[in-house]
């Protein structure tokens, strides 16, 4: 093989790896805070990507309506939980965040979709819609189960994934879509050609990782999230609501997912079910990071991306198999290195 091909493959691998890194970080975050293994992470990716592509093509995406429907569901859940101690402020607040907000976003989406909005508007709307879906999903599907075991949460997670995938087919159809590049143009450096889109991917990934690092290291809410991950009871005794931490974790995960989708969809055609596989590769990275280590996850994601690029060049039929086989030695090593750990009791 010559150096040029190798460089190309590495470059391709790093571009994909950057996206897996973001997804892997989101998975680690959600698991650490809520103990949910977030299978629907992939759906956030497709929803973000296809909402963006639909809007850019001047079509009304169904996700806007889904956000409103889930918001109404979340409102009903809020009312039900507080049924014995209802007061006006609580109802008003829940109504604004769960119904008024998605309704406004839906109205904006309807307004803009008719007139092929510019790229930044499409991105902003897609992110907001998917973020709302993420937060309401947590309220409806995971918050009521927050005290149960990891297995129950995993089952709920699979259920949410299947439901969202089915709805994705309904909203976007079986055909794939591509979106406009966030940043067009390209330049060459030596043998390598950098497209504006791949530069965008690197820049956004790095910016997001730095932003997350600052968020967790410096802000009170970031620290509260870490605290919940370290010691749930301790956090509650400090007055930090587990549900608040869960909402923030899901908000971040859905925004990260949607953003990843928006970055991929100009490069690759995405279908309603493409997210699952993309999410799984982020999951491989997260597993290599033991579902706890953020830096290890990011590095592992780059390895996953590069292995994928090389295997699709040499053995494209087996590329998924090869990527997922990475898990076997890692799991073997981890199970040998780590003592038996019992599931944390709450």
């Amino acid at each position: 093989m010559n150096t040029t091909i190798m460089l190309f493959l590495v470059q391709d691998g790093i571009t994909n790896g950057a996206i897996y890194a973001l997804l892997g970080l989101a998975l680690v975050l959600v698991f650490a805070v809520t103990r949910v293994i977030l299978i629907p992470q992939g759906e956030f990716v497709t929803y973000g990507a296809l909402t963006y592509a639909s809007l850019a093509a001047g079509q009304m995406p169904g996700t806007g309506k889904l956000a409103l429907a889930l918001g109404i569901g979340a409102f009903v859940f809020d009312l039900f939980v507080a049924r014995k101690a209802l007061h006006a402020r609580l109802i008003l607040r829940s109504c604004i965040t769960n119904i008024v907000l998605p309704a406004i976003v839906l109205a904006l989406t309807l307004y803009f979709a008719a007139q092929k909005p510019p790229v930044p508007v499409c991105i902003a709307l897609s992110l907001v819609i998917v973020a709302m879906i993420g937060v309401y999903l947590y309220r409806i599907a995971f918050q009521p189960l927050a005290h149960t075991s990891v297995l129950v949460l995993l089952i709920a997670s699979v259920g949410v994934h299947l439901a969202l995938q089915g709805l994705g087919l309904l909203f976007f159809g079986a055909e794939g879509q591509r979106g406009p590049a966030v940043l067009s143009g390209a330049f060459t450096a030596g043998a390598l050609r950098f497209t504006g889109q791949s530069i965008t991917v690197y820049a956004i990934t790095i910016a997001f990782i730095v932003a997350l690092w600052l968020f967790f290291g410096l802000t009170l809410y970031g620290k509260a999230l870490r605290a919940t991950a370290v010691n749930r009871l301790g956090a509650r005794l400090a007055g930090i609501r587990t549900t608040l931490s869960g909402q923030i974790a899901f908000l971040l995960a859905s925004v990260i997912g949607a953003l990843s989708g928006i970055m991929i969809v100009p490069i690759t055609t995405l279908y309603y079910d493409s997210g699952f596989l993309i999410g799984l590769k982020g999951f491989v990275a997260a597993i290599i990071g033991g579902l706890v280590s953020y830096p290890l996850t990011a590095v592992a994601a780059l390895v996953v991306g590069i292995v994928e690029a090389f295997s699709s060049f040499y053995a494209s039929n087996y590329k998924e198999v090869i990527v997922f086989m990475l898990l076997i030695p890692v799991l073997l090593l981890r199970s040998l290195a780590a003592p038996a750990v019992e599931e944390e009791k709450d």
Partner: protein, 243 residues
Amino acid sequence: MSALLSVTDAHVAYGKVEAVRSVSLEVGTNEIVTIVGANGAGKTTLLSAIMGILPLKGRVAFAGQDLARLDIEDRVAMGLGLVPEHRELFVTMNVEDNLELGAFRIERSRAKSSIERVYALFPRLKERRKQLAGTLSGGEQQMLAMGRALMGEPKLLMLDEPSLGLAPIIVADIFRIITELRASGVSVLLVEQNAQAALKIADQAYVMELGEFVLSGKASDIAANERVAASYLGFQHEGESRI
């Protein structure tokens, strides 16, 4: 004036096993109340239930308000604090972050002055403020757990076995600080196996055996009670084994 905390006819059960039976107690403002009793008497269970960690049958009122429908977090916001037996620190975070999070529900400006107050109470914590909580010694962890709870500006601080496993000199320090808390207007509900030390600083005391209060009254009276002296204070009569 009504009591700050009043528990009436409380029952706490793990499944079918009742660990606390028909217990009533009161803690007034500026008061140290202690619950003494042997291991397994139900003291920790009772504190957990008052905090809302375990479900409780009966009535718990704090500052005149019924706590029945309130979560742990709401109780914290009302001014009820618990330092649990296992401390439940954020071990991978430093001392300062642990303290800062203790004031999660408090206004930022007030939290800044609270942290100075905690450092004044526990100078050791100030020295170690950039150290990870998990690397502190047992005594320092206990101080940090108390400091974190104080950051939430509690009106009543519940301490579960603060002296457990600590060196005598540190225990003395912690008991001294508990009396300082009372002087600064924080009431304390203290659960201790070290009955002697607890009864010395407490105003009121309850003796718990097998999930029930068998004795209550002024701490000095309880300390003078022969039966308590025999069972918990280590003053044995001839032929009896020392607990």
